[in-house]
Symmetry: C2
Subunit: 212 residues, 2 copies
Amino acid sequence: MQFSSSLLEKAVSEFAKLPGIGKKTALRLVLHLLKQNTGDVSNFSEVIARMRNEIKFCQRCFNVADADICSICANSMRKQEIMCVVETIRDVIAIESTQQYNGIYHVLGGVISPLDGVGPDQLNIESLISRVQKETTTELIFALNPTIQGDTTIYYIQKKLSPASIGHPLNLRVTTIARGISFGGELEYADEMTLARSLQNRLPVESYVANR
Amino acid sequence: MQFSSSLLEKAVSEFAKLPGIGKKTALRLVLHLLKQNTGDVSNFSEVIARMRNEIKFCQRCFNVADADICSICANSMRKQEIMCVVETIRDVIAIESTQQYNGIYHVLGGVISPLDGVGPDQLNIESLISRVQKETTTELIFALNPTIQGDTTIYYIQKKLSPASIGHPLNLRVTTIARGISFGGELEYADEMTLARSLQNRLPVESYVANR
């Protein structure tokens, strides 16, 4: 692409660095901003810079936060003894959007994946183990993506929490979110693994109807 | 969507204001920026703000420019007597990218469209008329989109350039870019209008082969 302004060119190439945004889309976005008020564009640019500079990560659960402790951890209305283990901040947002969960979180920052060079030390696993021991946690819910890496991570953490590893048994229920056929999904197109697991973990109809 | 950080929420809603970017894409972009260096993100935000604040519009052709006159107008290697009339800056970029055009431009800023409240006074038409009279223009090429509004605009400008309107005849060739079947297009799927026009304006095979 040929630009007659280097300011325009630089702005387009900055936008084009974002994931999923090519040169043409970047140009469309920049020309849109060019049509907006100077004030609106300054605000846009300021909000982005402030977000990156001022955002903090919760010292307890590693979720994004405006202070040292995130608003979920700081909320005394939430059940502090139920902890949901997720991969990323995005998963926290997804679960929060269901408005069905009233416990707290622990963000691992990913899953164990030796092929990508991610070992347990790169993740917030050590802090999870110590939180579970220090806090009054009674249930640990794993809400990881259903991948081999996710399952490996669950297995690793469970081993780390075993009496053999800690030295004494913990009074802790460890669960994982249900795998099964999605709402609106069709049996015929489900993969065998999902279908087999959802048969294995079948539910009594009463509880299913009650939950609807 | 539920956010545990207002900084994150604001950044997402700013991105979601951009055209074609919804809440989920905005979140993906913001989380991507959150993973980058502080310096890179400051640079991103600075480049955007600078672009909006410092960019100028060429006083001659209304293209984007870093100075009072754009680099195309200021380029003495380009044929100053051939002027291409386009709707937007984007069209300038598209034509420049072909690397086949060596004249200068005039950006109208849109086309006449009474339904959208755009009349000739909102466009850079007056300045086009005076440029053509003052400068040594010998050919005016209309490269407007093939819409009724585009055709109306061409008709309007041509009337404004007629001897009846100016008071004396101009030594000016007025052309428009060819309409026809696109390369890779199929006759069978072309609309009647395009096919009819491309039959009407058929070319001698020699010139077609020479241009390939």
